[in-house]
C-alpha cells in the first residue's frame, strides 16, 4: 500500500553526503528559528508571570491607549496618555470596590554606568495589597516623602543599599527598604510613592488605576463595576485581568511573528537547499522513475515517493534542529542573562514551539520537493527511460 514510503526511505541513504547536507540545511533553519522564537516564548512567560504578580481585578487605562507591555517592561512605552487622579477616589466610592491605587512608572538612570531603572509609583500603603508576592526583606515600606524601596538585583548591581541615596531626576530618594527577589523585572525595579512619582514627572495624571473587587470570584460584580466606571468616566479604557493578559499575549504574538519573519530567511535557504537536493537526485534517477512508470507505477506514486524522500530528510533535520535549537536557545539565554545580569531566564523552548518547528521542517520538505516531484511524475516515460 505505502511502498513509496519504503522506497523513499531507501533512496535517502543512497547519497549520504548529499542527504546529510540537506538535513544540515533544515537543521540550521529550525535551530535558528527555535533559538530566536524562544525569546518570544520567554517573553510570553515573563509577561504572564509579571501580570500575575499583580493582584488586580480591573485595570483602568487611558482611553485609546494601545497595548503597553504590562509591568515594569511598560515603563519605557508609557507615553503621555494619563488617567485623571480624581478617578482614584471616584472609583473607590463605587459599591463593591475593595481597593484602588494609581500606578505610574518612570525611568530613572542610576549608577556610574547610567543603568536604566524602572521606578513604580504606587500609593504607599497599597503596595503589599496590589503586589502581595513582593515582600520586604530589609527595612520597611515607604512612608515619608522621597522614601524608596529598592529591588534586590538592582541593589546588588549598583552596590547601593538601605540608608543610601537614589537619585531620580535630580531628586535624591532615601532607600528605606529592600524587597525579596521574585525572579522577575521587579527585582530590578524601585518603588516610590505615587505622589513623589507624579512630582518627579510633573503631572497630575496616573498611567493606570488598579482596582480590587471585594468579591473577586463574582464576574457579575466585576462586570457591574466595569459598567459603572465606563458610565462615569468617558475618557478611560477598562479591562479585566483576562483582557489585560490577552493584550499582553497579543503583543507577544506580534513579537513571535516578527521573529518568525526574521528566521524566514533561514527557512527560505533551507527550502532552496532541499529543492536543490531533490532536483539533483530526481534528474539522476529519471530512468528509475521511467522504469517504475513503465511497470505500472502511477504518477501519484512517483510524486509521493519524491515527496516522502524530501520529508524524511527534512523531518530528520527538524528533529536534530529542535535538539540544536534547545542548545542554541540555552546559549542565547545564558549570554543575555549574563550580559544583562538578569535573575531570570529570557527565553524558553515551549512544547508549542517544538511543534511549530517540526511543522516548519515538514513545510520545508514539502515545498522543497514540490517542483522535483512534479517533474519526476510528469516526465514522459520514454524520455525518462532514455534519460542520460
Amino acid at each position: 500500500m505505502f511502498v513509496f514510503i519504503s522506497l523513499a526511505q531507501k533512496n535517502v541513504t543512497r547519497k549520504k553526503e548529499r542527504s546529510a547536507l540537506t538535513i544540515i540545511g533544515v537543521l540550521l533553519a529550525v535551530a535558528a528559528t527555535i533559538s530566536l522564537v524562544s525569546i518570544a516564548e520567554g517573553l510570553y512567560e515573563r509577561l504572564n508571570y509579571e501580570i500575575n504578580l499583580q493582584d488586580v481585578d480591573i485595570y483602568v487605562l487611558p482611553k485609546s491607549s494601545s497595548f503597553l507591555p504590562a509591568g515594569s517592561m511598560g515603563a519605557i512605552g508609557s507615553g503621555s496618555l494619563i488617567v485623571s487622579r480624581e478617578y482614584i477616589n471616584q472609583i473607590k466610592s463605587i459599591a463593591g470596590v475593595k481597593d484602588v491605587t494609581g500606578i505610574t512608572r518612570l525611568l530613572a538612570t542610576a549608577g556610574k554606568e547610567k543603568v536604566g531603572v524602572v521606578v513604580w509609583g504606587i500609593i504607599p500603603d497599597k503596595m503589599n495589597i496590589f503586589f502581595p508576592k513582593i515582600e520586604i526583606q530589609e527595612g520597611d515600606f515607604f512612608q515619608k516623602t522621597n522614601d524608596l524601596i529598592i529591588g534586590p538585583q538592582i541593589s546588588r548591581e549598583l552596590k547601593i543599599d538601605i540608608e543610601n541615596q537614589f537619585p531620580i531626576s535630580q531628586v535624591n530618594f532615601n532607600i528605606v527598604g529592600k524587597t525579596y527577589p521574585v525572579y522577575s523585572f521587579e527585582d530590578y525595579a524601585c518603588f516610590i510613592s505615587l505622589d513623589d512619582a507624579l512630582t518627579v514627572q510633573r503631572t497630575q495624571g496616573v498611567q493606570e488605576i488598579w482596582v480590587q473587587v471585594a468579591d473577586d470570584s463574582s464576574s457579575g460584580e466585576i462586570d457591574n463595576i466595569i459598567k459603572t466606571i465606563r458610565k462615569e468616566m468617558k475618557d478611560v479604557t477598562v479591562k479585566t485581568k483576562v483582557e489585560y493578559l490577552g493584550d499582553a499575549n497579543h503583543f507577544v504574538a506580534l513579537v513571535r511573528l516578527l521573529q518568525y519573519a526574521i528566521s524566514a530567511i533561514g527557512i527560505l535557504i533551507a527550502i532552496t537547499a532541499s529543492m536543490n537536493t531533490m532536483l539533483m537526485s530526481t534528474y539522476e534517477r529519471m530512468d528509475e522513475f521511467g522504469t517504475l512508470r513503465a511497470i505500472g507505477a502511477s504518477r501519484f506514486f512517483i510524486f509521493s515517493m519524491v515527496l516522502f524522500e524530501s520529508l524524511f530528510l527534512s523531518f530528520i533535520g527538524g528533529i536534530l534542529g529542535v535538539l540544536l535549537g534547545f542548545l542554541g536557545s540555552g546559549l542565547f539565554n545564558d549570554a543575555i542573562v549574563t550580559l544583562l545580569k538578569l535573575s531570570f531566564p529570557v527565553s524558553k523552548v515551549t512544547f508549542r514551539l517544538i511543534i511549530e518547528a517540526l511543522m516548519l521542517s515538514i513545510g520545508v520538505g514539502l515545498l522543497g520537493a514540490l517542483i522535483p516531484a512534479f517533474i519526476a511524475s510528469r516526465m514522459e516515460i520514454i524520455k525518462a527511460l532514455r534519460w542520460e
Partner: protein, 225 residues
C-alpha cells in the same frame, strides 16, 4: 493475450524534420505465441515495443490487446494495463538498485496490490523459474548482467501478465549467457501461458522464437522460422 497492430505510425518531430520511425506497421500475434522482431540499430524496435507496452502513444493507428483498443485509453487505464497485463524486460535490466532481488520481484505485486499474503512465496517461485533462488537477498548491482536480466524477467512476470515484451534482452550479454537466457524465455513461454514479443538484432536469439518479423523503413515484414 493476443496482440493486433493496425496501421501503426509513430513520428518524432526533430530539428531535422519529421522522423517516421514506425510508418504503417501491421502485426498479429496469437495468444501464447513467441515472436521475435529484428532490425538494425535505430530502426525503431524499442519505439515499437514501447507502443505495444502502452508506454508511449502512436501518432496514428491502433493496438488491440485481447481485442481491446488500448491507444485511446486514458493514462490511468494504460497504467493498469502496464501493471497487470504486460511485463516489460529492458535491455539494461532496469532493476531498482536500492531493493534486493526479492524486493524487486515483489514490487509489481505491491504496486498492483496483488497476491497478498503470498508475495514472497510467488517471488521465490519466479526466482526458481529463472534459476536464481540463492540470490534472493542480493542487491542487483552485485549480480552479473545475465543474472540481472533473469531477475528482470522474474519481475516482469510478477503480476501474471498475458504479454511479455522484451527489448533486446540479450543485447548486453555474451553468446553463452544469451543462449541460456533465451532458454529461460523459451520455457517461460511454454509453461506460463504468456505471449512473448521480443525485439533483438541478434539472429541467434531470434531463432528461438516461433516467428521472426523484420522492422524496416518503419514497416513489419513477417517470415516463418
Amino acid at each position: 493475450m493476443n496482440v493486433r497492430v493496425q496501421n501503426l505510425r509513430k513520428y518524432f518531430e526533430t530539428s531535422a524534420g519529421v522522423l517516421k520511425v514506425i510508418d504503417n506497421a501491421n502485426l498479429t500475434v496469437e495468444k501464447g505465441d513467441f515472436i521475435a522482431i529484428m532490425g538494425s540499430s535505430g530502426c525503431g524496435k524499442s519505439t515499437l515495443l514501447f507502443l505495444l507496452g502502452c508506454i508511449d502513444v502512436p501518432t496514428f493507428g491502433s493496438i488491440y490487446l485481447d481485442n481491446v483498443e488500448v491507444t485511446e485509453a486514458d493514462e490511468s487505464t494504460r497504467e493498469k494495463i502496464r501493471l497487470y497485463n504486460i511485463g516489460f524486460v529492458f535491455q539494461n535490466y532496469n532493476l531498482l538498485p536500492t531493493l534486493t532481488v526479492l524486493e524487486n520481484i515483489i514490487l509489481p505485486m505491491q504496486l498492483g496490490d496483488t497476491f497478498k499474503g503470498q508475495r514472497e512465496a510467488r517471488a521465490l517461485a519466479l526466482l526458481r523459474v529463472v534459476g536464481l533462488e540463492d540470490k534472493r537477498d542480493d542487491k542487483p548491482t552485485n549480480l552479473s548482467g545475465g543474472q540481472q536480466q533473469r531477475i528482470a524477467i522474474a519481475r516482469a512476470l510478477a503480476n501474471k501478465p498475458g504479454l511479455l515484451l522484451a527489448d533486446e534482452p540479450t543485447g548486453n550479454l555474451d553468446a553463452k549467457t544469451s543462449r541460456e537466457l533465451m532458454q529461460v524465455l523459451r520455457s517461460i513461454n511454454e509453461t506460463q501461458e504468456v505471449t512473448l514479443v521480443m525485439v533483438t538484432h541478434d539472429p541467434k536469439s531470434a531463432s528461438v522464437a516461433n516467428r521472426i518479423f523484420y522492422l524496416e523503413n518503419g514497416q513489419l515484414r513477417g517470415t516463418l522460422v
